[in-house]
């Protein structure tokens, strides 16, 4: 919320694996070409607080991360329930090894 009040535009997030159980998230912001980055390391098993309530445009990024990393965002304004990019019958998670998931109905 502070970044928004300061007039920063959300560019996107980048995610990367931190070991087997954690996920690193870099939030990239921009204000008149001045960049700012915030880093958050989260447990993959626990829901991640969504920022889509503050920045609506984060909704697409968070849905993409849900698709690709098998994590859950808490408070997502539009939740595609892991079917934004993947078909509902997909059972493998693209960016996580050896994880099988239930197909969506």
């Amino acid at each position: 919320m502070k970044m928004k009040n300061d007039g920063y535009r959300l560019v996107t997030f980048s995610t990367y694996a931190v070991g087997e159980k954690e996920l690193g998230i870099m939030y990239h912001f921009d204000k008149d070409l001045d960049e700012a980055h915030l880093r958050l390391v989260v447990d993959k098993e626990k829901p991640i607080p969504s920022v889509s309530g503050v920045y609506f445009c984060a909704m697409l990024v968070e849905n993409e991360i849900q698709d690709q990393w098998n994590v859950k965002f808490d408070g997502l304004v539009v939740d595609f329930n892991r079917t934004l990019l993947l078909d509902s019958e997909v059972t493998t998670v693209p960016l996580v090894n050896n994880v099988k998931i239930e197909p969506k109905n």
Partner: protein, 360 residues
């Protein structure tokens, strides 16, 4: 009033991009739009774990044909910065020449499609006829019309001879002359204005809040262009972001039209500053262990971002790409409500959607 749900896309006669929108319509007025993506998702980011970092240039180029040169430039610059590689000045300027040629052919392609979307087929033909000259330049100088594949880590693989430079400048004079001849038809024509003025309006505040990028952002009076960061050799060139105030479809199309003329000027400036010297340097080793980098460039559709993590091997640990259309979908979802159903193709096209980029 009972509402009707109308599926728009993923295959639609006026929209050559496989985006699907579920439109909730009441009395021909769109009340809500929900997107569905994923029809052409290819998982290209994942390929970095099985492809050598040199080979990933070819993968990045194929994220999108129209922006291929600028995708490859962004990827190359990111790796070069990560490995502290100094690119020869001639290569930096040659990259600008091909990048701006790509911006021109992308915008000309879009201007033609946009004209076609509101039924102006003669104008569509004129823009594509002009675009052919740019495609001919690409073919003559790099061997390919769309995916030119000139970038390598450390520079470029093709050079321009003095004869080619003279020919490019002559062709660009011709392109400029032809564009100025049809400028009144796109910018002053009653029919064009009636289909685009006041349609799909987005205010500057909305554009910033929704993370809009490129001509969609600049069409809403926000003067932001990633080229102003001065990456590559852009710091040597003199230009200002093209901005239009109204935030409607007309403003976004005007920004793109004016950017073609701006790109012609940038190619001329880059060629005038082209020094003698090498066009690439030999690259040894792998990106460093624990390396992390974030780079932005300006593509025809807007700002594109690459985030890379390296682990000391020839494979990258993580490659994350945020393309401009991905950023422009949330703005689109706020432009559509309360528009007429007939204006949906015009508004969707006004953000210049590239679903190939969006789904990577």
């Amino acid at each position: 009033m009972a509402s009707t749900v109308i599926p728009f896309g993923p295959q639609h006669p006026v929209l050559p991009e496989p985006i699907h929108l579920t439109l909730k319509v009441e009395d021909e007025i769109v009340k809500e739009a929900v997107p569905a993506l994923g029809y052409i998702h290819r998982g290209l980011e994942m390929l970095c774990s099985i492809r050598d970092y040199h080979h990933m240039i070819q993968v990045c180029e194929r994220i999108c044909g129209i922006c291929s040169m600028i995708h490859a430039t962004c990827y190359s610059q990111t790796i070069e910065e990560l490995m502290n590689i100094e690119v020869p000045p001639r290569a930096e300027l040659l990259r600008i020449v091909w990048s701006e040629l790509h911006r021109m052919h992308s915008h000309l392609l879009w201007l033609g499609l946009f004209a076609d979307a509101f039924g102006f087929e003669a104008l569509f033909m004129q823009f594509w006829k002009i675009r052919e000259k740019i495609m001919d330049i690409n073919e003559a100088t790099a061997g390919n019309r769309v995916i030119v594949s000139v970038n390598v880590i450390g520079g470029v693989r093709a050079d321009l001879s003095p004869d080619q430079i003279r020919w490019i400048l002559t062709e660009l004079d011709d392109v400029e002359k032809q564009l100025k001849a049809i400028q009144p038809t796109i910018l002053d024509d009653y029919t064009v204005k009636s289909r685009t003025k006041g349609i799909g309006v987005m205010t500057p505040e909305q554009a910033i809040e929704l993370g809009a990028a490129g001509p969609t952002l600049r069409g809403s009076n926000v003067a932001q262009d990633a080229r102003m960061l001065g990456y590559g050799a852009y710091s040597q060139l003199d230009f200002e972001p093209v901005v239009e105030p109204d935030g409607d479809c007309w403003s976004r199309s005007t920004v793109r039209f004016r950017e073609v003329l701006q790109s012609i000027d940038l190619v001329r400036q880059a060629i005038s500053k082209l020094p003698e010297g090498d066009i690439n340097v030999k690259v040894k080793g792998n990106p460093p262990e624990g390396g992390e980098i974030y780079t932005r460039v300006e593509q025809p559709r807007g700002e594109c971002m690459y985030y890379i993590r390296s682990n000391g091997t020839k494979h990258l640990e993580r490659l994350r790409i945020r393309t401009p259309t991905f950023a422009n979908i949330p703005p689109l979802l706020t432009m559509l409500p309360e528009c007429e159903l007939a204006d949906v193709p015009v508004i969707v096209l006004s953000i210049d959607p590239c679903i190939s980029c969006t789904e990577r």
